[in-house]
Amino acid sequence: MSEPTLLHFLILGAILFALGIFGLLTRRNAVGVLMSIELLFNAAAINFVAFAKYVAPDGLAGQVFAIFIITVAAAEAAVGLSIVMLLYRNFKGIEVDKINFMKW
């Protein structure tokens, strides 16, 4: 087993991203959708950190961005969950395919 290279991390990020997208598009539960979005965030964060380590090791921009992403993800989760709460109160359910009142 040799040292993991940049490619490994990118593949990991891509897998996470693909999983996130799949979840985002297929989950009917709103909480599941939110979780999938977290996966997407994390995939992006892994990419940032990986590029920071292998491409530009002198700076800390990648790492700082990753911290930002985590912060934003936390805030997004708070807002998202409260929206889910309200959806539940108003529609007695959190299935996203049912909640289509924003159409034409």
Binding site: I21, L24, L25, V33, I99, N100, F101, M102, W104
Partner: protein
């Protein structure tokens, strides 16, 4: 004084403006203001007269009204002896008429307006005689015509008065067309309309005489209209519908004399060709004879006087045509006073008996002493009885005609003088002597108030003495003052001619005395014996009927034709154009609705339909959106690599 002569017409103008804009509510203020202003004019006029008398050099004040390149139209004031004399005549008669009207127009609802008109007239007339160029004369000429129209139709509720005003205006207007044409030709031919310049031009002998003669002839046509000469005389008798003081002022003493004044001013042109002189004299002679003969049989007191005026104006025109500048002006001067007196006396009579028909009067002498006495003086004066002023002026006319060898005109003059004496005394006897023929009117008759009789007395004095200025034996009389050219046109006093004229006048009076006072010759029998002549005269030679048939009615017919033409053709064209426009608008409206609006609406509909179609994509399904975003991102990335 002569330097400030331009003030003379301005006083009455001021009075007119003040009355119209401020005093019209207050009759007393209006009338007294008008009177004081015209008296002021009279005072200045006398000052001017004395100064011109001392220094006969004409006074001029000229400035250019219009000028471009080498054409200029000067206007201004020209005061010579003729003007000075006219100023006196106008202001004196006007003042007396102003005062007289206080009594005559008393209680009239339009009293103030009457004085405003009188002031306007006085202004225009004074402007007319002072004007220094024919252009300015024309302006005032039309102004006096206007005031004449306004005053004839002063009682416009009466249809006859309104009609008379219209007739006067239209008749004089036709004649004025000649004046205007003549003026244009004059300016074209001589290059000037200024009186002194024109006279100088003719004297120098460089003038295009033929054209100037034509111009003079046309301008004389205007004078004929204003002075009621044949064939324009028809308006003056009808003009008697106006208030009597107006008839005295405008239609006896001053405005109708404007034509004579103009003819006198045109003297230089008239003397150029002998034919024109004879033409002028002939028109005057025809008028004098015709009007006098009509006057013989009329029954309306004012109409008799009107025909008398026409006849006397004919005298003046006739003698001017024969070159008697002094004689014409002198007769104008004396005639103004005694004719004004006759009219004012007639007004006094009408005021007393409320009728114009002398057949309903009679015996008024005992009731109206002052009126009858002054009327008698005026009648004697106009008949030419020694030594009243009418005698001297008429004699001057005869003397000029005799000296020039114009015996036919002399004969006409003498015949007219005989008729004048006859109709004046017929009028006098029928009105003031004999038995009253209308007892009711007689019982109510009374002498007029002082403000009417005092002007009568003053005019009577003038009718006697004004002519003494022109006694031919006087070395510095009228003839040496008002004269044409450098040398006085001296007329030899002819005693035999004087005696003849006196005899003629006396026999006219005597015949009237026999017929209407002693009744030894019955007027009715005479009328019956010469029935055709009587009717012809009574109907005024059928001039009115003739004009009605030849001019007025065809004009009406022509107007009706034009009206029909207007209705059918012009209106048809206009209406057709309207219809076409309407149709065209309709077509455009359709185009607008269908094509233009169609395009606009079509755009709207298209957007709507497109929107309808596209909004289907807005499903509200969060995951669909996410899918679309994802696919889009993938496509973008692929495009980056491809």
């Amino acid at each position: 004084m002569v330097n400030s002569s331009w003030l003379i017409p301005l006083f009455p103008l001021l009075s007119f403006i003040m009355i119209v804009f401020w005093f019209s509510k207050n009759q007393k203020v209006s009338s007294y203001f008008a009177i004081s202003m015209v008296l002021l004019s009279m005072v200045v006029s006398f000052g001017v007269l004395f100064e011109v008398f001392a220094n006969p050099e004409p006074f001029q004040l000229t400035f250019d009204w219009l000028s471009w390149s080498n054409f200029r139209l000067p206007i201004g004031i020209f005061v010579d002896s003729l003007t000075a004399m006219m100023l006196i005549v106008v202001t004196v008669v006007s003042s007396l008429v102003h005062i007289y009207s206080l009594g005559y127009m008393k209680g009239d609802p339009r009293f103030s307006r009457y004085y405003a008109y009188l002031s306007l007239f006085t202004f225009s007339m004074l402007g007319l005689v002072m004007a220094g160029s024919y252009v300015l004369i024309l302006v005032f000429w039309e102004l006096v015509g206007l005031t004449s129209y306004l005053l004839i139709g002063f009682w416009f509720e009466k249809k006859s008065a309104a009609d008379a005003g219209k007739k006067a205006f239209v008749t004089t207007k036709i004649a004025d067309l000649g004046f205007l044409l003549g003026l244009v030709i004059l300016i074209f031919a001589a290059g000037t309309a200024s009186i002194p310049e024109l006279n100088a031009l003719i004297e120098s002998g460089n003038a295009p005489l033929t054209l100037i003669s034509i111009a003079g002839m046309l301008m004389f046509m205007g004078a004929c209209g204003k002075s009621a000469q044949f064939p324009f005389h028809v308006w003056l008798p009808d003009a008697m519908e106006g208030p009597t003081p107006v008839s005295a002022l405008i239609h006896a003493a001053t405005m109708v004399a404007a034509g004579v004044y103009l003819t006198a001013r045109l003297m230089g042109i008239i003397l150029v060709s002998e034919t024109m002189g004879i033409l002028v004299a002939s028109i005057g002679a025809i008028t004098a004879l015709m009007a006098a003969s009509i006057g013989l049989v009329q029954n309306d007191i004012k109409r008799i006087l009107a025909y008398s005026t026409v006849s006397q104006l004919g005298y003046m025109i006739m003698i001017l045509g024969l070159g008697g500048y002094t004689a014409g002006a002198f007769h104008l001067y004396t005639h103004a006073f005694f004719k004004a007196l006759l009219f004012l006396g007639a007004g006094s009579v009408i005021h007393a008996v409320h009728t114009n028909d002398i057949q309903e009067m009679g015996g008024l002498r005992s009731k109206m002493k002052i009126t009858s006495l002054t009327f008698l003086i005026a009648s004697l004066s106009i008949s030419g009885i020694f030594p009243l002023s009418g005698f001297w002026s008429k004699d001057e006319i005869f003397a000029v005609a005799y000296q020039g060898g114009h015996y036919i005109f002399l004969l006409v003059g003498i015949t007219a003088a005989f008729m004048t004496a006859f109709y004046m005394f017929r009028l006098y006897f029928l009105t003031f002597t004999g038995k009253p023929r209308d007892q009711h009117a007689y019982d109510h008759a009374h002498e007029s108030p002082k403000n009417m009789t005092v002007p009568l007395i003053i005019l009577a004095v003038l009718s006697i003495f004004a002519g003494w200025w022109g006694i031919p034996w006087l070395s510095h009389g009228f003839g040496s003052f008002v004269k044409f050219g450098e040398e006085a046109h001296h007329v030899e006093p002819n005693i035999i001619l004087m005696l003849i004229s006196l005899l003629i006048a006396g026999s006219g009076i005597f015949l009237a005395y026999l017929m209407y006072f002693k009744k030894s010759i019955s007027a009715e029998t005479m009328g019956a014996r010469f029935k055709p002549i009587y009717t012809l005269l009574y109907r005024k030679y059928y001039f009115d009927e003739f004009y009605m048939a030849v001019i007025v009615n065809p004009t009406y017919k022509f107007s009706e034709f034009l009206f029909t033409f207007d209705q059918v053709v012009i209106d048809g064209l206009v209406n057709g154009a309207g219809k076409l426009t309407l149709w065209w608008s309709w077509a455009k409206e359709r185009f607008d609705t269908l094509v233009v609006d169609g395009a606009v609406n079509g755009t709207g509909y298209l957007s709507l339909a497109l929107g309808k179609a596209i909004r289907r994509t807005q499903t509200g399904q969060l995951q669909t959106y996410a899918l679309v975003i994802f696919i889009g991102a993938v496509i973008l990335i692929f495009m980056k690599f491809v």
